[in-house]
Subunit: 664 residues, 2 copies
């Protein structure tokens, strides 16, 4: 199966710049990348065919769409659900628009037209759009009825941030201005309401997101006031009279330029950092770029899970203290994984360094991908690294994925992020082409002096062989920057939070047209500068043996434990592959790890196997016997597709003691 | 040491009735019971000498008292803390007043006078008292500034409920009307504001408590409108237009008369049931009494911990589903234990049945007493039945008791409940004297035809011998009702949630003046009707061997597990007595339990010992070896006085499996 590139020539000229204009490094947008059969195609197809319609249906069932109809006077009724539910509909429209960009679908196109008509109806005359307030404004006992009356708690600015992103996506996909006009009218109201003027409000959103949306709107329309407003919101954060600040939870304790560590609600934080990067890219503000660097350093050195998850703490969905990375109660919201990727991609675009894409890739294959089932219709909100099969970590509902949530930000975030993934594979800067993700795909990159077509063949992440055929329109010199993942260079993630046990006995190799060349890296990329000719072929071989990882000793939850990674994929042991339990085994240092591709298992995965000691009770329940048992680890993202039961990422290397589980 | 009875003759005539007027059974108030050296004296003394001043100091440190000063215009500043913090100060005043009743203390008396002057200053002209709103009312951006604007969330009615209780206590202790006048003025405002009238508000408090306070105020002042208002709040609950109901969380889903099970926030629930009992006692409303009976049956059969704790669920501090009684995450708020005792004592006063006092005693010696340390200055908010020594069950702060909390309802509830304990020991009805608690104490009970003095000698709960000397003013016939605890009659708590393994091989015995008589029980009491003469002595011997308990199979968390109880005391195994760990052992059915009093341990406790199998890791960490080890269990209430570590109430009987704990 092949995703055909369409619409491309019909798109407004701003398409390339809407996501990334003015960043030093420019990504190749997803609609210019053709993905072919491989790891990602079932995911992309399922998102398009199942998740988009499923999510829309859920929005209909849960009054999320009806709220717009009521606010717009198209139906009678009261507001139902949570005040930020508008944003879910916008996010799914964003995902659907991405899908339309690639796959023309008149039915979906017309569904979106109808939906956008409801958004337009729900919009008040002056541009205001927040259905809960529009519906409730006549209710005299509702203390929250006042516009902008509770920016800290209300999500009226958060909601419209998602609207701007969705409206831009819809405009770029269809060329229709219907949704964009609604967004612009709303943004004009907000730009009039908020700002430094004496009669303007000086507050900031309690939940960041509008900054990202405003910058996209600026890039699409060229209206500088949207960028100014995004910058204003960023500048105001932590920079108002002390009694008006919202505190660390909303990253509103000190000015962003003075911040050093990620704090508070993880999604808000990473959306803020993404918005700050966007503003800094456009304004060149070095203080912001330096602050992002410090916050990123603290994150990767002290607050990042091995899965790329961030936000360890359930209470408040927030960052924990340094090294506070519990496994069974790890929160790791799916939205936070997405926000972490958005942020890291922007860091890459600012700096052109591979380490940011290392974090991106880690998150993509692990902490993000776990968030949605193979079927595309059940979701994790948190993504813990251990489960006893009993504790209902998924928002108190179950120990497995769920169809929907009252606060359903994660399902609607997955649906918009998934189609955009191909857009993170390639980038360009001056005369250089970056290859960041190893995805079976092709793209055509426009340079000043002609196009370059790149075809990538790979069965990554199962196989380490990546072949690129490079076809320049005209033979000429340019540079291919091929990311050598950090894990190849013995770095699990940037920083010293995790390390491989021992060094790899395999090394990567690189060849051009069959001739081996030495790998010379710059900023994490193998640099190949040459005069490229039609038919040139580059082959990169990445070492794919499974490797053991240990955590920094400061991480109490991982002490005495070991994890497994193969390529970018983090593994876990799950009960169905290990005689029904996994908390009763150890993975001693002497146990040899092997790997094997199992096409029949979990839609086809490479498993890691070994023979390990397990501890089982005697028949009378008064002795514990050790025996050797085959051990099978599966990719973390694939767990929880076979019922509720034990799962563990960090396995004990030795037993210090045991905890008894009673015979019932 | 002896607590001297003082003030007694100076007290207003209403003292006897303030707590319990119109209940069929009348308790003997705590100020008419003299407690002598025994189990409770160190607790009562510590509460008086340490906890009362400590709690007041904490209120000063945390702006709880300053909020009154600011509201009263005595100081400049802003409101600090949580909106229900007023109630903590009131509750400590209640406890301090109880203390004054027994122990004249001019310094404390004058401190209370000063504090009450601050309450009076903080009261608005029309009687309104809620410092957060009084302070913030000029703040135009505070959406909650409207009086009664958010009864569901705000605690303005809850707060004053505690004020009424405290004001009544202070009036009864000192005869001064200063605080009572503040309370009355406030209650008059509220009685004018709320009610069935067309111009009145028809809402109910989101957090119950005012009902109890209003009834006390009615009993003290004789003003019937307070009783009417209490009844109105009870009647309105679940009985308003559906869109205005707060739902199950606040027991506001259906009318109380139709409720069958305890739901929602456990403290709110049990305060409601207490208030309903008060109202029903005074109005004779049988529908309410029947509803309480149904709710109580469901509680004891499906939602009660073996420690007497209620409210199993951390999220929302609420009741779980039937049989949902997890051990490590058990919430069991200390306040809920107190509320449970308040409710059960009222059930006893309604029905005169010992089963309610069984639940009371269970809670008193276990789930309540664990809430405060021996030192009187650290507290549990939740009271779990298992700890790994790591999980910070105590409101995320630690795995042991803490000095204070942002929401510090539990420390301020302990301080008011502790001095009242002697008031639950005795009661009377017509010509019967009830002995409910076995406390080294004496009292004089006034009957129509003269006083009866009772002196009780006992080293309960360590020793099962209880001696009562009965001294009537004039020899005459009356009945002594001596509670035979349910656990003697093979009932762990009423209902079928828990049962003893096997039956006891010891039986209780009873003698009068040295002559054995058979135990004839009625409603759980040994009934001794005779013409009592000066010097008559009754001796009750309760069997005190340690016994095993198993839970109803429906309780998943306790399956395959066994608990230990001796007398009313529930035991736990804690790490310091068991070679540093307790999750690695089993207590097989064959292990013989012994008991022994250890005067040197934990202020003097009877421990339960055995020899049991434990599972330990071999030196290389790859084998698990079973060995026999001495086992020591301590009273549950006494745990967590020696640092953080493992504790377990429900021990596995056999091992089905083990979970590995890694060598770090």
């Amino acid at each position: 199966m092949r995703f055909l590139l369409s619409f491309f020539l019909l798109l407004p000229a701003t398409v390339l710049a809407a996501e990334s204009g003015d960043y030093p490094v420019q990504p190749i947008p997803f609609n210019e990348v053709t993905v072919s059969e491989g790891f990602w195609t079932p995911r992309l197809e399922t998102n398009r065919k199942v998740t988009i319609p499923y999510d829309f249906r859920k929005c209909e069932e849960t009054a999320r769409i009806r709220n717009f109809e009521i606010a717009g006077g198209l139906k009678a009724g009261t507001f139902e659900g949570r005040r930020f539910n508008d944003s879910d509909v916008f996010k799914i429209v964003e995902g659907a628009s991405y899908s339309l960009t690639i796959h023309p679908d008149p039915e979906l196109d017309s569904f979106l037209d109808d939906l956008i008509a409801k958004f337009a109806a729900a919009q008040e005359d002056d541009g205001y759009l927040f259905t809960t307030r529009t519906i409730n404004q006549d209710n005299p006992v509702d203390a929250s009825k006042k516009r902008w009356g509770n920016l800290r708690r209300d999500h009226e600015l958060y909601n419209v941030g998602h609207m701007y992103e969705a409206a831009v996506a819809h405009y770029l996909a269809t060329g229709k201005r219907s949704f964009l006009d609604v967004a612009v009218k709303n943004a004009d109201l907000i730009a009039e309401t908020f700002g430094p003027g004496e009669k303007q409000l000086h507050g900031v959103p309690g939940h960041e997101e509008i900054e990202i949306g405003l910058v996209k709107l600026y890039r699409t329309t060229g209206e500088k006031k949207y960028l100014d407003l995004a910058k204003y919101f960023v500048d105001q954060r932590g920079n108002r009279p002390e009694t008006e600040l919202y505190g660390e939870y909303a990253q509103d304790h000190i000015p962003v330029t003075e911040q050093d560590t990620p704090v508070g609600h993880a999604v808000r934080a990473a959306y803020l950092y993404s918005g700050v990067a966007d503003v800094a890219a456009l304004t060149g503000d070095q203080d912001y770029i330096r602050a992002l660097g410090r916050i990123w350093q603290n994150t990767v050195n002290k607050k990042l899970y091995i899965t790329g998850g961030i936000g360890s703490t359930r209470s408040g969905e927030r960052f924990g203290d340094d090294y506070e990375l519990p496994n069974d109660t790890a929160y790791n919201e799916t939205c936070a994984a997405i926000a972490n990727m958005l942020w890291n991609h922007r860091m890459f675009m600012l700096h052109g360094e591979a380490k940011y894409m290392d974090v991106f890739e880690k998150t993509l294959y692990n902490g993000f991908l776990s968030g949605v089932s193979f079927g595309g219709d059940t979701f994790f909100y948190p993504n813990p690294l251990e489960s006893d099969g009993v504790y209902k970590f998924n928002i108190g509902q179950s120990a497995t994925r769920r169809p929907w949530f009252n606060t359903s930000c994660c399902p609607s975030n997955v649906v918009r992020f998934m189609p955009s993934i191909p857009g993170y594979a390639y980038a360009k800067k001056d005369k250089a082409v970056y290859v960041n993700l190893f995805i079976n795909s092709s793209t055509e990159i426009a340079f000043e002096h002609g196009k370059v077509r790149i075809e990538q063949k790979s069965q990554y992440p199962w196989d380490g062989e990546i072949t690129l055929s490079v076809t320049p329109e005209n033979s000429r010199e340019f540079t291919l920057m091929l990311r050598i993942p950090g894990w190849v260079a013995d770095q699990v993630v940037p920083g010293n939070l995790y390390s491989f046990m021992g060094s790899s006995d395999e090394r990567p190799s690189l060849s051009v047209n069959g001739k081996s060349i030495s790998i010379v890296t710059e900023n994490g990329y193998a640099v190949i500068t040459r005069k490229w000719r039609k038919g040139d072929t580059v082959t990169l071989m990445l070492p794919m043996q499974p490797r053991r990882i240990i955590a920094n000793d400061m991480v109490a939850a991982d002490r005495g434990r070991v994890a497994i990674q193969r390529g970018p994929v983090v593994y876990c042991a799950e009960w169905p592959d290990n005689s029904g339990r996994v908390s009763n085994l150890i993975l001693p240092d002497w146990a040899t790890l092997s790997s094997e591709f199992r096409p029949d298992l979990l839609k086809g995965v490479t498993v890691v196997t070994a023979k390990v000691p397990v501890f089982v009770a005697s028949d009378n329940g008064e002795e514990i016997v050790e025996k050797k048992q085959p051990f099978t680890a599966i990719p973390y993202y694939a767990w929880s597709h076979r019922g509720e039961g034990e799962m563990i990422v960090w396995l004990p290397r030795k037993a210090k003691a045991v905890k008894v589980i009673p015979a019932e």
